[in-house]
Amino acid sequence: MNPTQQVDTTFNKRAVSMLVKRVFLSLSLIAISPISFSASCCGGGASSGVILPKFNDAMWDISISSEAYDGYWTQQGQLKADPAGSKLIQRRLSFSYAHRIAEQWQMNVSMPLVDNQNQYSGDSSSVQGMGDTQAGLWFEAFERVTCVYKINGWESLKPSLYFGTTLTLPTGISSYSDRIDNSFDITGRGFYRWDANMIIEKTVYPFSLGWQGSYGVAIKRPVNQEYGQAVTPYNKQLGDRATSVFTGAYTWFLPDLAMLTATLSYASIKEDQTKYDGENDSSSGFDKKTSGLAFSYNSSLRDWIIKLSYNQAEEGHNYPKTQTLTMGVSHVYSH
């Protein structure tokens, strides 16, 4: 008997599940990825690709990243290799827009497109789709730019301080969607999540130091199907997530008054265990630590920013080991 003759299900679940894993990771990384001083510091735009500089009104940002997978850490922290012959790459094209809504308030929106290229020893797949959308609201807890060239008393030590909140909308197609039974469209994690964020940074030219932290809570949701298959309905809630990113940067002033900034970063992310109908899933939850190096070029008019960064996962638990290369360009507008 040949089991394959008994069903008409022709789609390849392998790519779907891999995509879920990828999107899960990419969305995790979105929360901790903006680690490049965009050289527009002086009270704004320093730590995030979609945070407006202090006296600008709007900004758009387009970035493309490529993330390669190179094994994974088990729950005990042991590094294991991916199956021989496998090559797993995810590319993301993100569109972001930030807009000033008041003197000390700004909002932003970010939408990623996801492209997964999976190659195993026995098969390969190519998957493209929209990811989950993020919308943010930020308050700048300072009224004047805080970058200084020289420390002159306590006042000059005042840092830039931002408080923000981010809502993740499940606009991608998740494993709980009913439209994945004949396509490879899974592109989102399927959960609303609410994050509280904080950024603190200080620049005394040519040096900058910064920290960005966030704490996010996923909203519990009902699930009645997995990968297009009906299941007994249950409630699922992803674990709370905490991220922390430390950055240090050095800025060179170029002859045309443009700026080139190099940034070193060290980021950690931790997500608690998932709950099914209130019961903790001991096999879930993860943590990862990542180091990164980024360069950004800010034009002499400070209206164009070009960014390049490389991030390398250093250690973790229950998480893949990845390397990510990101390139981006931002344009800033003023009155």
Binding site: M1, N2, P3, T4, Q6, V7, T9, T10, N12, K13, R14, V16, S17, K21, D57, A58, Y72, T74, Q75, K80, A81, P83, A84, G85, F95, Y97, Y120, S121, G122, D123, T133, L169, P170, T171, G172, I173, S177, D178, R179, G188, G190, P222, V223, N224, Q225, E226, Y227, Q229, A230, T232, P233, Y234, E279, D281, S282, S283, F286, N318, P320, Y333
Partner: protein
């Protein structure tokens, strides 16, 4: 400036609508009807498979011993979550349920050699791994990462869902 904002807003709204995001924006707990032929309660055929050791086998031979009440298939792609589940199955379920045949299904490697390599490098050489190189079991059960299938002595599917916490699997095995 205003035109620029309008254009950007239009683009963002357009992209948002193009995502077709309705299901996850408004999730439901309504009971749905399964589309899988190997759904819970279905009578399945005596499926053949190949172990990573290149040995051909079938469900019936696994269920044949009088002390065996069911076969459990766990679909793995050798990922972190899979590793957690497999470790849990090996260290707890295997000992707790000696009357159950547990097997892992490698549905991502294209050959028994590759399956064996992944099995060894992942530290599961002591476990039976099915090399589903032709995707036969994957297609039959609509299996994917962490899919867990329970088949009883009468070839009835008792479970075909994600592993989750393992409590559902334990509950089903307790009732055998």
């Amino acid at each position: 400036m205003f035109t620029r904002i309008k254009l950007t807003t239009f683009i963002l709204i357009g992209m948002f609508l193009l995502t077709g995001c309705q299901e996850d924006l408004f999730p439901s707990n309504d009971q749905l009807t399964s589309k899988s032929e190997a759904q819970v309660g279905a009578l399945i055929d005596d499926l053949e498979f190949t172990l990573s050791t290149n040995i051909n086998d079938e469900i019936s031979s696994r269920l044949q011993p009088s002390n065996i009440d069911a076969v459990v298939l766990y679909f793995t792609m050798w990922c972190p979550v899979c590793d957690s589940h497999m470790s849990h199955i090996r260290s707890q379920f295997k000992n707790q349920y000696p009357n159950i045949e547990f097997m892992f299904v490698d549905y991502v490697s294209g050959s028994t050699t590759s399956s064996r390599g992944a099995q060894t490098s992942s530290g599961y050489s002591d476990f039976d791994v099915i090399s589903d190189y032709d995707n036969a079991l994957e297609n039959y059960f609509s299996g994917t990462m962490a899919s867990t299938i329970v088949i009883d002595k009468n070839f009835i599917v008792l479970m075909n869902e994600e592993f989750k916490t393992g409590s559902q699997l334990a509950s089903i095995l307790d009732n055998l």
